[in-house]
Symmetry: C2
Subunit: 121 residues, 2 copies
Amino acid sequence: MAKNLELSYLIDFYGDVLTDKQRDVMDQYYNADLSLAEIAENFGITRQGVRDSIKRGEAILLDLEDKVGFARRHRELQDKSAQLQALAKDIEFRNNAGYARSDAIAKDVEQMLALLETLDD
Amino acid sequence: MAKNLELSYLIDFYGDVLTDKQRDVMDQYYNADLSLAEIAENFGITRQGVRDSIKRGEAILLDLEDKVGFARRHRELQDKSAQLQALAKDIEFRNNAGYARSDAIAKDVEQMLALLETLDD
């Protein structure tokens, strides 16, 4: 079973909807990167029990992301935030350099406002 | 039973986790503002059936928000977005007015960058 990095991300967002044990199993597998055998030993269950628990947890998290889309939106937000930071730093630079009535600053602001319009989509 | 406006908001975020029927009932009650009697007639069930369906749906949505917190984060994001827009418009005004090496623009940018740091919290 190949580890899906996306799952590690989904555990952060939706982990609390799992039972404590299920979340702990998922966390040890995806975030602490333990093997099925190590997790089985930690919980005193079989490797197959661990595998089943992970499969069930994965199904719950993937279904929730499919229906709610929070992780996808969060990635889009991080992307927009990085663009806004770059624009803000550009304004900072141009302002410090003393460009009054700067077309470049005006363009930065225009781009910022357009991005901000879509921020909470 | 008093209508909770928060629920209308939660239906937008998490409505897809409900069954189609449950979501439709919730939607008619919270968004279309129909009465229990009207909804009962639409679905051919009793008013008590509608009431039970709404109660179950509410419990699911409130529990999910409690665990995932997407609606709360979205409100915080809208608030920050409004602050960023105000700052961008302030920069636009000052730039158009021709204030080169403006301390006010520098301060706006500083506030922007601080807000952007927390945008995806």
